[in-house]
């Protein structure tokens, strides 16, 4: 009852806010149309399937890379898991370096850039289209992605730029240039430029428009429908205040609240899963059956696999290169230690948080299946599984959580806004680093990028989900194309670092301080 009243007031407020709602809606549609037509070619290029199949080459590109790194480094994600945790705890940190960026801080900042809507909305998209089976492929991609992350973050620290004033800049642009030169390989500079271009697009797409879009979807889900550009303008204003106005207080609050929200999200998911403990076995059965048969989803098993891999990559960004930018500020004499720490990121992001979301959606019975055949039923368009209220994306996750706790949609709305916001702040930084790599550092060039970034917040909130999500994926995956070429060329350097570190760790030369 309370909810109905809240909705009604919300709609009334939203409607009275607008003197000409018809004009606003048509503005939304226009933005949408222009956006879809101008980015379509890029999206089709990145997601074009192998001839004669429906398997996009880019998904294979990421998975093959993650598999190669996993094998090349001898399953480093499992061998070094315990050591990674002791590094994060600070067991190996020199007390004289206190006051510098710790492993924990680098990891936490990188995580606040990746834990976000990918974990809430992205997973719902994966499970909604690819069925429960997508979860299996998502977890597998998450586990393998740990090796990609390990490789790129080690290189990020090793080849970062340290300036005289004590600040640092790192990321794929730097290891592509310096690492390639060191190995005598050609094309490093060109790849670095390409990476920077894609990174700017990725920052505007997945790191910005997708976030604004889904935040708007979640807000309308709570207060009722109103035009997206209003959310966009408000968000853009706050982002502007932080990145241009240097309003640190907002960023500081977000940085503190986001981890709390993350923990609250996982704990609530666990409670819902435990409340339905009798269905846990069934849910995992659905996940395994779906992974290999598809259980009637569009595209069958391959459909489930593509969705799982895609959303895992979009969520944990392993192989994309963005994390290498965030991780490169850590204070360590051994670049490889940051590689170890970073491999926890896909684990926390995908294997833990994404799996929680997927389990809650499955267990609360949001996906409609045929009672007789056990196969999932498709929606009218045949593009996704039919859901209880016809929800998709973040609304599906919201419905799943709300079915257990009615109030959770309000918490989720706040969480989504904060996650979206912290991801935007992180990506504005990644994008800015790529921008300054291309155009040089300076107040004016930086300001230009920051303003463009804010404009895209508005576009993202106003466009409909389809074109935005496609473009977001395409831009982020394009970064992975360039970055992974670089990782292949530079992986022997990481291997050398790894072998040297491991032998010194075993001989006791590297010792614990605590």
């Amino acid at each position: 009852m309370f909810h109905k009243i809240a909705c009604a007031t919300g709609v009334a407020a939203a409607t009275s806010l607008l003197s000409a709602p018809a004009f606003a809606q048509s503005l939304d549609e226009k933005v949408n149309q222009v956006f879809a037509s101008s980015t379509g070619w890029f999206v089709s290029l990145i997601f074009s399937p192998f001839p004669g199949t429906s398997f996009p080459w880019i998904v294979a590109w990421l998975v093959v890379a993650a598999t190669i790194f996993t094998l090349y480094f001898g399953f480093i994600q499992f061998r070094a898991f315990r050591h990674s945790i002791s590094l994060v705890k600070g067991d190996y940190s020199d007390p004289n370096d206190a006051g510098e960026v710790s492993h924990f801080q680098a990891l936490a900042t990188a995580l606040s850039g990746t834990v976000g809507l990918g974990n809430i909305a992205g997973v719902a998209v994966a499970v909604g289209i690819g069925g429960p089976g997508a979860t299996f492929w998502m977890i597998l991609a998450g586990l393998m992605g740990m090796a990609s992350k390990f490789t790129e973050c080690t290189l990020g620290v090793k080849y970062r730029n340290e300036y005289e004033d004590g600040t640092v800049s790192g990321g794929p642009m730097y290891y592509l240039t310096k690492g390639f030169a060191e190995r005598g390989a050609p094309g490093g500079r060109i790849l670095a430029i390409m990476f920077s271009v894609f990174c700017i697009l990725g920052a505007l797409g997945g790191g910005n428009m997708f976030q604004a879009n889904q935040a708007h979807a979640q807000i309308t889900n709570v207060v009722g429908d109103y035009p997206g550009w209003i959310t966009g303008v408000i968000f853009a204003g706050v982002v502007f205040a932080v990145i241009v106005g240097g309003l640190k207080s907002i960023a500081k609050v977000t940085e503190k609240v986001v981890p709390i929200m993350g923990v609250l999200y996982v704990v609530t998911a666990l409670i819902i899963i435990l409340m339905n403990y009798d269905k846990i076995g069934w849910a995992f059965g659905q996940i395994f059956d779906g992974a290999f048969t598809g259980l009637g989803v569009a595209g069958g098993m391959v459909g489930a696999l593509i969705q799982g891999f895609k959303r895992a990559a979009f969520s944990n960004e392993a192989g994309v290169g963005s994390a290498a930018i965030a991780h490169s500020a850590v204070r360590t004499k051994e670049p490889i230690t940051e590689g170890f720490v970073s491999l926890l990121e896909p684990f926390i992001d995908t294997v833990v948080i994404c799996t929680m979301t997927a389990l809650v959606i499955i267990i609360t019975g949001q996906l409609i299946s045929d009672a007789e055949t056990g196969m999932y039923m498709l929606n009218e368009a045949g593009s996704a599984i039919a859901t209880v209220d016809g929800n998709s994306g973040v609304a599906l996750t919201s419905a799943a959580f709300s079915s257990a706790f009615g109030w959770f949609k309000y918490i989720l709305a706040i969480a989504v806004i904060l996650f979206a916001f912290s991801t935007m702040i992180s990506w504005s930084y990644y994008g800015l680093k790529a921008w300054t790599y291309l155009f040089g550092e300076g107040k004016t060039t930086e300001l230009v990028f920051k303003i463009i970034f804010c404009i895209f917040v508005i576009i993202g909130a106003a466009a409909s989900l389809g074109p935005v999500i496609d473009f977001s994926d395409a831009a982020i995956f394009a970064m992975a194309v360039v970055n992974i070429i670089g990782l292949y060329v530079l992986m022997p350097i990481v291997k050398r670092e790894l072998n040297s570190y491991m032998s010194r760790l075993q001989s006791g030369e590297i010792k614990k301080f605590h």
């Binding site: 600070g90 006051g99 936490a108 900042t109 940085e255």
Partner: protein, 144 residues
């Protein structure tokens, strides 16, 4: 018996009283003083990407500022008072760092001040002085 005394110093009136008290005893015994200043810091706090990038530079600035505006003047002021004086600036949790400094410098005693106010937060969470009384590795004098 001469010994080394660690004094926790943050520029406050209470910490000056502790230093005055310690220096008299050190001078009488022919001992020396280590003035320790701790910049509160947790490796588990959360920073934005921008703060990460600038952290090393900020740390250097903070150390330089603490040295020039806090430690150098106090060392100069107290050097003529009959006891040898060294100073150290560290990052971390105040109580833990003071205990570490005492252990590392083979100190025989520690001196800290207290402001005498018993606020609600210090009742709940304890104050630096009361925590040191609990966990200092050497005899600890709390100067009111």
């Amino acid at each position: 018996m001469s010994g080394k005394f660690v004094v926790g110093y943050d520029g406050s009136a209470a910490s000056r009283r502790a230093l005055d008290f310690a220096i008299d005893r050190a001078a009488a015994q022919g001992g020396s003083i280590v003035i320790a200043h701790v910049l509160e810091w947790s490796p588990y706090s959360f920073l934005t990407p921008n703060e990460l990038e600038e952290r090393h530079a900020r740390r250097n600035e903070e150390l330089a500022r603490a040295k020039s505006s806090l430690m150098d003047p106090v060392v100069e002021e107290y050097s003529g008072k009959g006891a040898e004086i060294e100073s150290t600036i560290k990052y971390g949790k105040i109580v833990d760092v003071l205990c570490d400094v005492a252990t590392e410098s083979n100190a025989t005693q520690m001196f800290v001040g207290r402001d005498g106010e018993s606020s609600l937060s210090s009742r709940v969470f304890g104050s630096v002085a009361s925590s040191l009384a609990q966990c200092s590795p050497v005899p600890c004098t709390i100067v009111p």
